[in-house]
């Protein structure tokens, strides 16, 4: 089995290389370069040219690419010309916020999906199931940003239960309990809004897995052994249906990336997604390329995780 995991991990290397080349080409295609915006336009063009030469900006593309990769590996993504600070620093603090938001969303997604999926699958074609599938159809149909706006309007502005922007109340001391609660409070509404929409595919997936597993012959065997219905469900149906859900986990991460871009902007939550959109509108190219690279990496790692989880939990793959 470890061979399988090693092989799967090795596959990510060419994936990452291709991603980095794409991102590099993207960066090169952007107008301007590392010097743009840093330098007073009144400086003599010859001086600029000398500077370019010194910084290696006139080297062939592959040399530049290797230099860029070296920099990225050391965490050097260049300078943000809007914020006048290193991109890595800028992203660093946003990344923590996005990680928390993603984690909260993931937990909520499963908290909603598992019970709903189980009820819907076990009691399929009852009114309860119809209500749940009805919800999933609405979830599929409703655009995330509109739904999030409605949530923000109702719970943030009208009812005032949650803060409407930011990631923590200003003035709270980091490390204190109040700080933690404030963080959580800021997190909850955006996470819930996203989870309510993204969870529907997991609900549907779990539902159809359960309905599928219910009709398997080994379920009849379990009954023939004298298992009670609850045991049949808990020991045989559920276990076997949750397995593909576990494998779905990695892809869930990929889905989150798209979600955070909308959500963070709507809720004014200072994370990577919010940074991404604002850097696009401000034409902050170095930040943009760094973020695209990170999002791409997250997607690759998500897919890797999925496959590794599946190979760990499914004996049919584990033992060959």
């Amino acid at each position: 089995m470890w061979k399988l995991i090693v092989r799967r991990t090795l596959i990510t290397i060419p994936q990452i290389i291709v991603l980095s080349i794409l991102v590099f080409i993207l960066a090169q295609a952007m107008p301007g370069d590392a010097l743009t915006g840093l330098i007073d336009p009144n400086i003599d063009p010859a001086t600029i040219e000398a500077m370019r030469e010194r910084l290696g900006l006139n080297n062939p593309w592959y040399v530049q690419y290797i230099d860029w990769v070296k920099g990225v590996l050391q965490g050097d993504f260049g300078q943000s010309f809007r914020f006048k600070m290193p991109v890595s620093e800028l992203i660093g603090e946003r990344m923590i916020n996005t990680l928390w938001l993603s984690l909260a969303t993931l937990i909520l997604t499963y908290l909603i999906a598992i019970p709903l999926g189980i009820i819907s699958g076990r009691f399929n074609d009852t009114w309860l199931d119809r209500a749940i599938t009805g919800y999933t159809y609405i979830g599929f149909a409703a655009p995330l940003f509109i739904f999030a706006l409605v949530m923000l309007f109702i719970f943030g502005f009208q009812l005032g239960w949650f803060p409407t922007s930011g990631s923590v109340a200003p003035g709270t001391e980091p490390g204190t309990f109040a700080y933690f609660i404030s963080k959580l409070n800021h997190l909850l509404l955006p996470a819930l809004s996203m989870a309510l929409i993204t969870t529907v595919s997991t609900v549907q997936y779990l539902r159809s897995e359960i309905i599928d597993t219910k009709q398997k012959d080994f379920i009849v065997t379990a009954r023939a052994k004298g298992s009670s219905e609850s045991r049949v469900y808990n020991r045989h149906v559920l276990r076997n249906s949750l397995l593909p859900i576990a494998a779905f986990f990695g892809y869930e991460i990929t889905g989150l990336i798209g979600g955070t871009i909308f959500i963070e902007n709507i809720f004014g939550y200072p994370g990577m997604g919010e940074l991404f959109l604002s850097s696009i509108s401000l034409r902050d190219y170095s930040v943009m390329t760094a973020l695209v690279l990170l999002f791409g990496l997250a997607a690759i790692i998500g897919a890797l995780l999925s496959d590794i989880i599946l190979s760990l939990v499914d004996p049919r793959i584990r033992i060959k």
Partner: protein, 338 residues
């Protein structure tokens, strides 16, 4: 005469298809005795598997009427709790496709262990493990300790079927239902499994209901045989009578249509028409009539009954009396003409 274990009276199992109930098992009456192998023979759609599932109470969406009398209680009326206690303990079941009958995510040892645990929840884990190893030995698995920790997909078809059998006999059931236990297996493995079931019968003294379409398997295994067609029993007799002196046209046709090693026929008998589907079953008159159209309508009974033509030998409908195969008829006609 040995003791009656299971007494089934007028059993009717119907499935609902679009607002109508269609009986897949229609008015089946029979008994199963201790220590006997009762074979139920039929083609797909004859209702033989639906019959087995009805006894075990494994149908989730079927209407079951009639009586299944077991140890003084009627299982048709039994609640889920009573059935739960019987299933796997007093009634074991062996399935056709062992690969799909086993949970792919559990080691086979744990699956047998579950069967014991369910009926002895207070037993110790170590003791159960010993029992499982013993069972694996009993069903002829060469390295039980190793096999215990293997998953179904790691075993061969024959080994998997042995696991399913071990599971079915784990609580020394009094009734064992084997639903096409060897259909999915190679011939040499089939004979091993059949011999195993035979040997187990000697040790566990259970009544066995063997469901099969294979008349060779019947000849090897059965004490008594019930032939099912379109949800009904058309003939029931001890195995010698049935194989040597079959009466019902369906039984006779079936026996004539299989190629055997003993006598090489130039031509196999073909039963005309097709097995009717559940919705298209003829519900009145002789259900086999449409497949023997050369037999006059007057030969059939209006509502065919099982007739005891010799002790223990029952045949449905009166059409068996003057039944002949069409080829024979032609020969006879030629004979008269000459």
């Amino acid at each position: 005469m040995s003791e009656v274990l299971l007494d089934i009276k007028n059993l009717k199992t119907s499935f609902r298809i679009k607002d109508h109930h269609y009986a897949a098992v229609d008015d089946v009456t029979l008994t199963v005795k201790k220590n006997e192998v009762l074979a139920i023979v039929g083609e797909s759609g004859s209702g033989k598997s639906a019959f087995a599932f009805s006894i075990m109470g494994l149908h989730t969406r079927a209407k079951i009427e009639g009586e299944i009398n077991y140890k003084g209680s009627n299982l048709v009326q039994a609640g889920p709790n009573q059935m739960k206690k019987l299933r796997g303990k007093e009634m074991g079941m062996i399935f056709q496709d062992a690969l799909s009958a086993l949970n792919p995510l559990m080691v086979v040892g744990a699956q047998i262990d579950e069967a014991i645990f369910l009926h002895n929840p207070k037993s110790s884990k170590n003791l159960r493990k010993l029992q499982v190893i013993n069972l694996l030995n009993q069903v002829g698995i060469p390295r039980p300790e190793k096999t215990y920790h293997q998953y179904p997909h790691e075993l061969s078809g024959g080994m998997r079927q042995r696991i399913v059998i071990a599971m079915a006999i784990s609580n020394q059931p009094e009734l064992l239902i084997a639903d096409e236990p060897t259909t999915a297996l190679d011939v040499t493995i089939q004979s091993q499994i059949l011999d195993l079931i035979k040997e187990l019968k000697e040790t566990i003294h259970a009544g066995i209901i063997l469901i099969t379409h294979d008349l060779g398997v019947v000849a090897e295994m059965a004490d008594r045989v019930a032939v099912m067609y379109a949800g009904q029993i058309v003939e029931i007799a001890d195995v010698y009578t049935l194989m040597e002196n079959p009466q019902h046209p369906y039984t006779r046709s079936l026996l004539n249509s299989i190629p055997t090693l003993n006598d090489v026929k130039e031509e196999l008998h073909v039963i005309q028409g097709v097995v009717p589907s559940l919705q298209n079953l003829p519900r009145t008159g002789c259900r086999f009539a449409s497949r023997i159209p050369w037999i006059e309508e007057s030969e059939h009974e209006a509502s065919p009954e099982l007739h005891e033509i010799s002790p223990g030998h029952y045949v449905r409908c009166t059409c068996y009396k003057d039944f002949y195969f069409p080829e024979q008829a032609e020969e006879e006609r030629n004979y008269v003409a000459n």
